[in-house]
Amino acid sequence: MPQLTMRDALNQALHQEMARDERIIVLGEDVSGGAGGTSGEREASGGIFGVTKGLLPRFGEGRVLDTPISESAIIGAAAGAALAGLRPVAELMFADFVGVCLDQIYNQIAKFRYMFGGRSTCPVVIRMAMGAGMNMGPQHSQTIYSLLTAIPGLKIVIPSNAYDAKGLLIQAIRDDDPVIFLEHKALYPRKGEVPEEAYVVPFGEANLLREGEHVTVVAIARMVPFAERAVDALAKEGITCDLIDPRTTSPMDEETIIESVEGTGRLVIVDESPPRCGMACDIAATIAQKAFRSLKRPIIQVTAPHTPVPFAPALERQYVPGPARIEAAIREAMKDE
């Protein structure tokens, strides 16, 4: 099976879906990276992360729209185009920019179906790059999914590898509801086996990446490969873990996590978001409500601190939970043994 980066897997998904359904349009800032500029190049880069590469020359300006820098216009236009029968894939570039267009996301797109009594849907996909680790500073590094997961009416998708990225993006495009698709910037170069043909990864089905008996580890996005390293290192010492990647935080596959905790009695949650009202809290609350009697030890949350993401590399390294912190947390969970 071919090895692709997550970037190329996403690009392949966009190409295959746009070829399949001509109602799909792509719009956003610099999605072709050059159209509208003075270079004369119609496609200079295929987006700043290269995910939309080749779409403009293949599908034309009618379906690949390089927009002005107005996030509200991009997301609102996607909403209106969806109501008018298209299936837009909007790109927000950086997830941090969600603040500029939050009204269009949480007051408009998320509510249309419910507010109009089920008589319309809003099949919009909003792709956005998120996450710390590239020294991009406080306004280009946040994870933001906790905030978005709290909004009813949205589906929240967070791939951690190339295979999931392709299958989840295709599912998102084919879904009749609005989907927020969060791509961790540090994962774009991460390679994995990706089938050539189109396929879907369903929403609400967690991925059980490792099976063990001592500790359940739940990790999201870039925390997944970090947790893999920690879990694999501890396995050599005889401490074995279930490692679960929820893949979508809304809908959330609670069953897989509950069943695992019923077996292990110990839970470590790894989340790149700040600790308050975050995904780690949400998962911890679910387990406290639904699997309390299975717990042998308090739940441990490994999160970023309650601060903005710092710019200085030394501080940012401290901000992002890494394999060492995850390993320490799993050992902490095992302390009673």
């Binding site: 729209l65 509200s72 236009a77 996607a78 209106g80 269009q104 008589r119």
Partner: protein, 268 residues
């Protein structure tokens, strides 16, 4: 482009009927809201009918509009069912949004009405997307240098003609335009607004000088094709339909409890 002077009798009657229907709908709501039976905020459109109808008479069901919190007039002018609208405002079963949207969110995709909108400024970005969906790509995202004209918002004919010009421009691919229609409101910003910002008798004077229905009737009397008897018949028809709308809305059951959890892809 269709000029208001060339509108035939049936189209003038249609326009007058829609304006009168909006007026009657809103005047009746003003009375019914005072009974306390209608929940929530309601923003009345009375006084501005010539704008909604002058605009929408230039459009068809396949044209899209977005609206505002003061959207009842836009809905009626675009062809939304007044019985379904009244039920929606009462929050009842059979409302245009099954009672889940209310006064500020009435929508009907089949009429090209993309929703009243309780967020000021929320609609225009959505209109951009509707234009993309309608292949009016020429005008997308052009925020500057947009032609605009100002019209008397109490004059149906003036609004209709201004709209004719901008619709012709849009349909020819020349891009978006703006119309600034000068108008007032007969009621407060919302029902319950004490309107301390208004002069004594201001509204009474405005109802004499800026009533689009009176202006429309006066124009017909000065040699227009519609007779007073024909206009009176439309008035009676509108009053009867709004009466029926209120009776049906009050009789309609509230949405079932299970509806709280429907029309959203996942709920807890």
């Amino acid at each position: 482009m269709i000029d208001s002077m060339t509108l035939d009798k049936s189209r003038l009657l249609h326009a007058y009927r829609r304006m009168k229907m909006i007026r009657e709908f809103e005047e009746r709501l003003h009375v019914e809201i005072a009974t306390g039976e209608i929940p929530g905020f309601t923003h009345l459109y009375a006084g501005q009918e010539a704008i909604a109808v002058g605009v929408c008479e230039q459009l068809s069901d396949s044209d899209y509009i977005v609206s505002t919190h003061r959207g009842h007039g836009h809905c009626i002018a675009k062809g939304c069912d007044v019985l379904g609208m009244m039920k929606e405002i009462y929050g009842r079963q059979g409302g245009l949004c099954n009672g889940k949207g209310g006064s500020m969110h009435i929508a009907d995709m089949t009429k090209g009405m993309l929703g009243a909108n309780a967020i000021v400024g929320g609609g225009p970005p959505i209109a951009v997307g509707a234009a993309i969906g309608s292949n009016d790509l020429a005008g997308r995202c052009r925020g500057f240098g947009m032609p605009a004209e100002r019209v008397d918002g109490a004059d149906f004919h003036a609004v209709f003609d201004a709209m004719g010009r901008v619709v012709q421009r849009a349909r020819s691919g020349a891009g978006p335009s703006a119309i600034e229609a000068m108008i007032t409101r007969f009621y407060g910003h919302f029902e319950g607004d004490p309107q301390n910002y208004r002069a004594k008798d201001e509204v009474a004077k405005l109802r004499m000088s800026m009533d689009c229905l009176k202006r429309f009737r006066a124009r017909m009397l000065e040699g227009g094709p519609l007779s007073t008897a024909e206009l009176d018949a439309v008035d009676a028809e509108a009053i009867a339909l709004i009466d029926r709308a209120v009776i049906e809305a009050k009789a309609a059951p509230p949405p079932p409890a299970a509806d709280l959890y429907s029309d959203v892809y996942i709920n807890y």
